[in-house]
Assembly symmetry: none
Homo-oligomer: 142 residues x 2
């Protein structure tokens, strides 16, 4: 989150600087102001869309039909797995890498690694694939 804001700020600053430069170097005054504004509008619209998507929490997905899968929340609680850790566990099971997870949850890979380590410890696993297998077995993921 912080990172995105920073990146956004930098991009904004860079763009303004660039515009300033262009203005002085190439007599931008000759370009109609509307065009100028239009370019900025388009660029920032794109940035806005990007930022908006980035900032939005991953919509969970969920589906369920048929399968009589029912999460054993009891087990989750008993193992002491926190909410965030559980999210990470789900993404692991979805086949994402730490980097992928970090991007999706909008945190650093360090954080993801910490969560992963905690999950592994709590599930008594030493590999993520093992964690998936155990979690499935314990009925805490489909």
């Amino acid at each position: 989150m912080r990172r995105t804001i920073i990146i956004y700020g930098i991009a904004m600053a860079a763009l303004l600087g660039l515009l300033k430069l262009v203005e002085y170097k190439y007599f931008v005054r000759d370009i109609p102001l509307e065009f100028y504004i239009g370019v900025v509008a388009v660029i920032f619209t794109c940035l806005g869309i990007w930022a908006g998507l980035r900032l939005t929490r991953p919509r969970v997905i969920e589906v369920e039909v048929s399968g009589p899968f029912e999460r054993d929340d009891q087990a989750v609680k008993k193992l002491g797995i926190s909410k965030r850790e559980f999210e990470v566990l789900e993404l692991i099971a979805a086949g994402l890498s730490n980097q992928n997870i970090a991007d999706r949850l909008f945190v650093s890979t360090s954080t993801v690694k910490t969560h992963v380590s905690n999950v592994l410890a709590k599930l008594d696993a030493s590999r993520r694939t093992e964690a998936i297998a155990r979690a499935k077995q314990l009925r805490i993921i489909p």
Copy 2:
């Protein structure tokens, strides 16, 4: 979606019109260009965020039935996964490391790695966790 685009277009046009108006009426040239640009950037960033969220909302996915599991041998054959490779895939899904698999199948880790690589390629995955997810989705493992 269509409506969103229309609204967006109208908003953009209205804003540009407004700016033009302001420009002529109140000598906007006196206002520093940077400030001008900044305002536009902020406004369009917000619009971008709003539009982005609006445009990408509904993303519902599938499916799945989970009754008694039934392997889709068709899929396995279609993917060209050999017998041995399939064995390895099952052990991967069971959470074993390459070393574990090698021990269990009485072959070297080199062999296991080769099989794993082939499986990954055939499932179009780049991590074993991804392979597990895809295999599950394709109903070739439970």
